[in-house]
């Protein structure tokens, strides 16, 4: 078997060196009732040819985004990842290395993490960032838990623009940890409404901009209200490219900024692996979850980097840790950092402007479709439209014609009474012909 280097002769020799007769002698501690002769009921080994054949057949049964008109967003966005990124992350030393616990032989990983942390802090406008979490949604949940530790209060309030799946993820963790949550009903453009729910028990206020409907909001007023009540403001962003065009969470008064970093360096991958960006004010750094990379010197006085402030983490603090997290999203953070280095400030701003421009063109095309109403007043690259009838049915029908039209809001929250709302996104990969085709099809459908 191509991945197993031991030969039968090796095995015999090694058993001899150990002093046992057969491999079974090494499994003596397994109870007899659990010892199984033979193999489990699964196919036997296969060569590359067979594996590729089966997997390619499975892959072919999926309609990939690049095959045609595609307008899905709602927390994951289709961007172009430069060829260099994927090539570098496949280098042995990045792909097959471990967590940098032996810093002398992991300076590649550590320096990248230091650069990544700096980039994330700069993008979010915050003072310090960690080396990444699993994704934006678990990052948001961790932020709520962090606010609970910092304020010693047990309530989180969430605006009506937070992605419903993020709300569910936060609720799942928070409730288990004894933090109560209050989520405003989904609302296109009402982040401010959350202010009325802030009281002396509030640990944090969670808002999203651009929100799940695409609406861009200045949350400065919400920051002020939260701070006046002694609560922290957590600002969630699901489209990291938006940092290239819009005012940053730090500029608006956020205490913690959380984002899904997938848009940069990482493909759609059907939902994972993604990369959670997490940044906060320096005064909270000891309550921050996840890995942190810091600068230091070696015995010869050369600059180097190490994982630091580890006493926050599970392997030291155990039951008093800030989180149970043990991995970061290392390779995805590397991809993010490489892509960001290739873009640079100019490139990122240009990319963001391009995304917005495409979305404006999409909006103009859809606004011209009779029966379609544009719901989002101010957006980055995604907005919500109201269609006649069920948005989910419409998406299904359009898929039959080769257009993946977007995400019906009912897919995120079936009980919100927004079954006629469709979330549509455009990026730099969206073709004008696809926009035209989409609008044309939609016009035909609506007319029927």
């Amino acid at each position: 078997m191509r991945y197993l280097p031991l030969t039968p002769e090796d095995r015999v020799e090694m058993l001899g060196a150990i002093g046992v007769k057969s491999i079974d002698d090494l499994f003596v501690d397994v109870p007899a009732s659990a010892q199984r002769a033979g193999t489990v009921d699964l196919p036997l080994h296969a060569g590359e040819i067979e594996v590729e054949r089966e997997m390619a057949a499975l892959a072919r049964r999926n309609r990939s985004a690049g095959e045609g008109a595609f307008f899905c967003g709602a927390g994951a966005y289709r961007h172009h990842v430069p060829a260099t990124v994927d090539h570098i992350i496949q280098r042995s030393e990045f792909l097959t290395s471990y967590t940098p616990y032996q810093p002398e032989i992991a300076q590649g990983t550590l320096q990248v993490l230091f650069e990544f942390q700096t980039q994330v802090a700069a993008l979010t406008g915050m003072e310090v960032a960690n080396a990444s979490l699993y994704d934006g949604s678990t990052g948001a949940a961790e932020a709520v838990m962090m606010a609970q530790r910092v304020t010693r209060r047990n309530k989180a309030v969430m605006s009506g623009g937070v992605h419903p799946h993020y709300v569910e993820t936060i609720e799942t963790l928070a409730h288990a940890a004894g933090v109560s949550t209050q989520a405003m009903a989904p609302a296109i453009d009402a982040e401010d409404a959350v202010i009325a729910a802030i009281d002396a028990d509030t640990a944090c206020v969670v808002v999203q901009t651009p929100n799940v409907f695409g609406t861009v909001t200045d949350v400065t007023k919400i920051a002020e209200a939260a701070h006046a009540a002694g609560a922290l403001l957590i600002v969630v962003t699901t489209e990291a490219v938006s940092y290239g065009l819009l005012k940053s969470p730090g500029e608006m008064g956020a205490d913690i900024a959380v984002a899904e970093g997938q848009s940069i360096g990482n493909g759609l991958n059907f939902g994972g692996p993604y990369v959670g960006l997490f940044a906060c004010k320096e005064k909270f750094v000891r309550q921050m979850p996840g890995r942190l990379c810091g600068e230091t010197v070696d015995a010869d006085g050369r600059r180097g980097f190490v994982l630091t402030l580890s006493t926050r983490e599970q392997h030291i603090r155990r039951d008093k840790a800030t989180s149970n997290i043990c991995t970061n999203s290392g390779l995805c953070a590397l991809a993010f950092s490489i892509h960001m280095s290739l873009l640079g400030e100019t490139g990122l701003r240009q990319l963001a402007a391009l995304n917005h421009q495409k979305a404006v063109a999409l909006r103009d095309a859809l606004a011209a479709v009779p029966g379609v109403e544009i719901l989002t007043p101010r957006f980055f690259n995604e907005f919500a439209i109201k269609v006649p009838g069920s948005a989910a049915d419409m998406v299904e029908t359009l898929a039959g014609h080769g257009v993946i039209a977007g995400v019906p809001f009912s897919r995120l929250d079936a009980g919100a009474g927004l079954d006629d709302v469709l979330l549509v996104a455009a990026t730099e990969t969206t073709l004008d012909v696809d926009i035209t085709f989409f609008a044309k099809l939609l016009t035909k459908m609506v007319a029927q």
């Binding site: 994951a76 471990y98 940092y243 630091t308």
Partner: protein
């Protein structure tokens, strides 16, 4: 104060020698190894390595919301970026370079076929929320992966969505808590875990409000049954036991552990980090386990990537299956579909959602390719070769180093303590750093906490006998040097790595967690 015995030096001692290998270069470069500045420090940092069409000015709707201050991000052309990252990569050790003996991490070879499969556009370029009718292949792959995981573990259900092992532990405990609450047993607020448990076990339990009580260990490294029995009771929700355990030993009494736990009305959570020792040969379901996470990045070869991403699906018993988090994968005459919201028809009793989308599809593809490649016969061979390799290393080192549990076989990893270093002046840490000079990544050190100066060696099955022998010879030579009093070799190590020993004390006392544009003095050791 609560004393713990894991304090150890975290900065280099004033070296007796300067550690130089003799020749000084004129620029500080050292052959293939170059000092690489931070991207923020490079000259001419405002380029871009991506060609994009010009964009129009943003619409007036966004007035007042635009970012009009500099962000502070450097940009490089493609050739410069490639050089920067390739030069950095050369400072990393990796599985592709040598045996990586990290106990409990299962650093096995990462097959490149898996990378190729993961990049098929049909897997990599699909959106989690596009219509389910357009991703039937992806859902079918998840279903097949689930089938393999359930069959290998002998368990009836699996939650695929956790994003890492620790996330899987969280999932398992939340399912257990939901099961207790549904049965009116929400008063059970204690979780038992052995003293040797991995830190994520108590961290996860405490994170969701459980009190953690430790179970004692016997002299031969196993769970003390009498102690367990005395601590079980009406207040206990679950036990968290790793099997094989963190000392690399199979819990002989695991069936009895399960029986006692169930008799007390609690659930058995199994930390599956060490599944590589038994995959294809022993099914945790046959041992009485109720929930177990499987680290796809350990047993199933998905790459460690310098720290992640991982994936931690959790297999569940009949009792816990109804509480699994969404999404639930359903297969009927119409094909495959996911039920995505707890409380919905089809997932009424799900405890909630672990993350925004479906889980780590990229890792499912890789793990599935690995499973298909090995098959049932290959996977059984994986466990046998992993156990064989670890026992071979133990046999060839036990006369020069001190195995923590010398009697009987170990499983896939061999644990040593530092008794054999007594009187040499060399610590486990020093020994590990000297291994770096010999070309090997150190083994796991100072874990598990129950053994003094622990050294945990897990070779995995993808090591040839030649590489094992090379490793053993290096360690035997180093052990000899330690005992012969060559302390300088160890205290000053590493000498040949890209950097010498680093000052972790300084990094913790004066945290500098990002580059700052204001001219700052370099950090100096105190």
């Amino acid at each position: 104060m609560s004393m713990n015995n894991v304090g150890r030096p975290t900065r280099p001692e004033a070296a007796a020698n300067d550690g130089s290998t003799g020749h000084e270069t004129l620029t500080g470069g050292r052959g293939l190894l170059q000092d690489e500045a931070l991207i923020f420090e490079l000259d001419g940092w405002n380029k871009t390595g991506v060609d994009l069409p010009k964009a129009a000015a943003p619409s007036d709707d966004l007035a007042g919301l635009l970012r009009d201050t500099p962000i502070g991000l450097p940009g490089l052309s493609e050739p410069e970026a490639v050089r920067h990252y390739v030069r950095l990569s050369q400072k990393n050790h990796a599985i592709d370079l040598a045996l990586y003996p990290l106990g409990s991490c299962t650093m096995k070879h990462n097959p490149r076929l898996n990378e190729k499969m993961a990049r098929l556009p049909g897997f990599s370029d699909i959106h989690p929320l596009q219509p389910q009718s357009t991703v039937q292949g992806a859902l079918q792959l998840m279903d097949r992966l689930a089938h393999w995981l359930k069959t290998l573990t002998g368990m009836p259900a699996v939650a695929l969505s956790p994003k890492a092992g620790a996330h899987g532990e969280l999932c398992g405990l939340l399912a257990i808590r939901a099961a207790h609450e549904a049965a009116g047993n929400g008063h059970r607020k204690t979780v038992l875990a052995p003293t040797s448990a991995h830190g994520t076990n108590p961290a996860t339990a405490a994170f969701v409000g459980y009190t953690v009580v430790e179970i004692a260990q016997t002299d031969d490294g196993r769970v003390d049954l009498a102690d367990l029995e005395s601590k079980l009771g009406d207040h206990v929700a679950a036990i968290m036991v790793t099997n094989p355990n963190t000392c690399g030993l199979f819990e002989r009494d695991v069936v009895e552990i399960a029986r006692l736990t169930h008799a007390a009305g609690a659930y058995f959570y199994c930390d599956g980090a060490n599944f590589n020792a038994i995959v294809g040969r022993v099914r945790p379901g046959d041992l009485g386990v109720d929930a177990m996470h499987i680290n796809l990045h350990k047993t199933f070869s998905t790459p460690h990537g310098g720290g992640g991403p991982g994936a931690g699906p959790v297999v569940l018993s009949e009792a816990l299956a109804p509480f699994a988090p969404t999404p639930w994968l359903v297969h009927d005459d119409d094909g495959f579909s996911m039920v995505e919201h707890a409380g919905e028809e089809g997932a009424r009793t799900a405890f909630g959602r672990m993350s925004a989308f479906h889980g780590q599809m990229g890792m499912y593809v890789r793990a599935y390719a690995y499973m298909l490649s090995h098959g049932a016969d290959g996977l059984r061979q994986v466990a046998e070769d992993a156990v064989l390799n670890a026992n071979y290393i133990k046999a060839r080192l036990k006369d020069v180093m001190s195995p923590a549990f010398p009697d009987g076989p170990c499983m896939h990893e061999a644990l040593f303590d530092d008794a054999w270093l007594e009187g040499t002046g060399v610590t486990t840490l020093d020994f590990a750093k000297a291994m770096i000079d010999e070309g090997f990544h150190p083994m796991t050190m100072y874990f598990p906490l129950v053994v003094h100066g622990a050294m945990l060696i897990e070779p995995t099955e993808t090591e040839s006998k030649q590489e094992l022998d090379r490793f053993v010879e290096a360690l035997r030579a180093l052990a000899g040097a330690a005992k012969a009093g060559e302390t300088e070799r160890f205290k000053g190590a590493p000498f040949h790595a890209p950097l010498r020993r680093l000052d972790e004390t300084l990094a913790a006392r004066k945290p500098r967690l990002r580059w700052k544009p204001v001219a700052t003095a370099p950090l100096a050791a105190e």
